[in-house]
């Protein structure tokens, strides 16, 4: 059974003045243990689809199934806390918390002991290639790449089975890019995670098991590279 099944999903941004149909009738399946890449031009609806997969809102039409159960029937708070973690395109770190505190946050929500949380956080920060000096830094004092990696560390620390990453390597140099991609591959292939990465980067897409292409909110079939 697929971990995530997308069934005819559409999403409309509704504002006072206009409504934008960002995702249109998308259907596809995502399996655990695999690394997926989603590509497509800017504004094609990639981030929107990812957010729907993260359970940040319910689709306007269609439905998403998590291990066969409709997302609408789930406790989505719990889903986000325990199953799916996201690396956002714009990082979304807490500006008033330090790197360490940011990384520890999901674990605190899970009720982990503080010492355990610190240990895991330090480990995750190491894994994304950051040093000790980042621990007490606030996001505003970090470079874009550092912020991005802290965001990745935070997503990893939650320990859920789904990792959704929106342009996780956009701000990284090639060495770090490789490191992160390797990390994602390991997660998918060795630890059985479902990893979905949005990327414009052909190198990253190459490393994926499957690639989807989006255009004008629609998912292009047969996107395999």
């Amino acid at each position: 059974m697929s971990m995530l099944s997308v069934r005819g999903v559409g999403y409309i941004y509704q504002s006072k003045y206009q409504s934008i149909e960002a995702v249109k009738n998308v259907s596809c399946d995502f399996h655990s243990g695999k690394l997926y890449a989603v590509t497509g031009p800017s504004g094609s609806g990639k981030s929107t689809l990812l957010s729907l997969l993260a359970g940040l809102d319910l689709p306007t039409s269609g439905e998403i199934l998590v291990e066969g159960k409709s997302m609408a029937s789930l406790d989505r708070d719990r889903y986000r806390r325990e199953i799916a973690s996201v690396v956002y395109q714009s990082f979304n770190l807490f500006p008033l918390l330090t790197a360490l505190e940011n990384v520890m946050y999901p674990m605190e929500l899970l009720g982990k002991k503080k010492s355990e949380a610190v240990e895991t956080a330090i480990q995750m920060i190491g894994e994304v290639g950051l040093g000790e000096k980042i621990y007490q830094q606030f996001p505003i004092m970090m470079s874009g790449g550092e912020q991005q990696r802290v965001a990745i560390a935070r997503a990893l620390s939650a320990g859920g089975k789904i990792l959704l990453a929106d342009e996780p390597t956009g701000n990284l140099d090639s060495a770090n890019e490789e490191n992160v991609v390797e990390l994602l591959r390991t997660l998918a292939h060795k630890q059985g995670f479902l990893v979905i990465v949005i990327t414009h980067n052909p190198y990253v897409a190459e490393q994926a098991d499957e690639v989807y292409r989006m255009r004008d909110g629609e998912l292009q079939t047969d996107g395999r590279v």
């Binding site: 941004y13 981030s47 929107t48 957010s51 729907l52 993260a54 940040l56 809102d57 319910l58 708070d77 719990r78 889903y79 986000r80 806390r81 325990e82 973690s85 996201v86 956002y88 714009s90 979304n92 770190l93 807490f94 008033l96 918390l97 505190e101 946050y105 999901p106 605190e108 929500l109 503080k114 939650a158």
Partner: protein, 642 residues
Amino acid sequence: MMRHVGNSLRQMVRTPGRTVLFLLLLSLSSILLTLGEGLYLMSEQTVKKLESVFTTIGTVQQTHDEMTAQKVWDTEKKAYLDVASHAEYHSIIPVEKLYFEGANYIHPPVHRPYYGATHPDFTYRDDSYIRVMAQTRDRLPIVEVTPLQDCVPDHTVRLKLLRELYGRNGAAGREVQEWETILFCDHYNPNPKTLYAGKTYVMALEWRRSHAEWQRTHTGVDRLSGEYFPRSSDTNYGLSTQYLPDGKKIPEQFPMQERWDVVTEGFYDTPEGQRWLELAKAMEQLEHTIPVIPTDSTKLLMSFFNGNATIIDGRDISEKEYQSGKRVCLISQELSQMHGYSVGDTVPLPLFFADYRDSASRDFPPDSLPIGIPNHPLNAEGKAYQVFDDNQYVVVGIYNEINKATSSSGYDMAGYGVVVPAASIRSSDENNILDYGPMMGYNTVFQIPNGTIDQFRKAWEKQGIDGLEINFFDKGFTSLKESLDKIKQIALALSVAGIMVSILILLLFCHLFIGKQKKRTAIERSLGMNKLSCTTSLLAGILVIALLGSAIGSVIGYIFTGSAMSLFTSQAQGQIYSTAFSSWASAGGELNELPFEAGAVSPIVCLFTIAYLLVLSFGIALAQIRQNLKSEPLKLLSMREN
């Protein structure tokens, strides 16, 4: 849960400028609120306290229609001299005029008399008193005399003393001696009648200094002893000033035709002769007379009202005793000392006359001897007054007057005086009205509720009644109340300001700390924090600051209230001192400072302020948080940061 709160506080602390400003502004509004509440409660309590401590009384005085100056012949100067002018009243305005619509009395005005109580027990043990009483007899004797030769007493003449109906020999227990003479002159009479040797005359005399000419030409006792003139030489003189209760004078049955009567065989069996015996009897009775002041409340007696007279032993007569007319009394310290009466003892009070004109303190001056009313002590029938109410009274308290009158204002307590509930005198005094006059400040007093002077005055002015002067005494209550009302208004303004400021501050800071942090909430939500945790984490931050700010502010506000309170107390002391008895002071009284303290405010007001600010913070913050949680995190997170 605690960790969310910790994260929330951590984030507030990391914007210290904003947080400290929030704390300060919230403290400020808390100061305003606490000060407002505190001052309001303080003035409210102080007014209550004033109400219980203060009384407002009014005195009624009929204004005289004219002053008439009297001219009296002076034999020595051979001229008419002006004597003190006196007030004339064409008619007496009844007290009922004051029972008008709109007059709200606690104790309505009563044109009250003072009573004379006589009892053989009221004798004076004091040696000095006996001496002075002898002097009184010496000064106002009633005697039978005969001239040594025919004479016209337009100068000092010597008369042989035949008998004393009332006089110094009697006081000393002696008989009149064969050789005794007195010096005499019909001093104030422009046309003295001839006195014939061999005739016996009876007259009521009064002593005065000898003429200068006499003093120059005589030596020894003759020079010093002075001379007598007939008391009846006053043009209005009568032995009786008896009135009916309606204020009409009863004509004397046997008015004095001359300044003396000629004593013939059987004269004392005639009504005219009886009259002299009665006069002597009445004079003697006055030596055993004490003044009794009936009232409906001790506060209606000016000396007690202004604190000049105080109860030094026992207690005051209670409101209930006043109402029910229980036979209890307050006695003056002099009376207590003279007779050894103490609290709990029984005093007989056989009342024999009522005086509606004069004040007891004038007829029985404090700290002096009760010389009484010797010029007109008889009733219209020429008889001494008979006791009309004879009851025993229990002494419940002993009073002392601190500043005894030096003037003759009439407002003081009488010497050897007794205060009784007016209602305790159940027998009518209609046949024993020794004198009657218009309402005076010292005999017509009423009590109205505190703070209603203006209201009363307006209602009274509507009556359009001339001839009565009403003076109010409230020990400065009205002006104190006015200042307290002002303080109340300021307190209300402070409270309103505090409420407004606190609402604005909370709206602003909840906007900054919550509304502007939608993104933070969205991130928290995206990480799987549920709505309740988001709410508590945000609320906790605001509430901790609100608690801190309101606590600091309310303590400062409470301290400010305390200082405002003591400032007011010290000012109020001055106010009481300066305004309270100003009119009373001009009436001859001494000022007495009243102990005054503003009402205390319990520190519970601080809790009120804190509770209010916490509830307000809770409400406003919660509304903001709900706003944050309304939309799903997707849209918020998909928007680019600006």
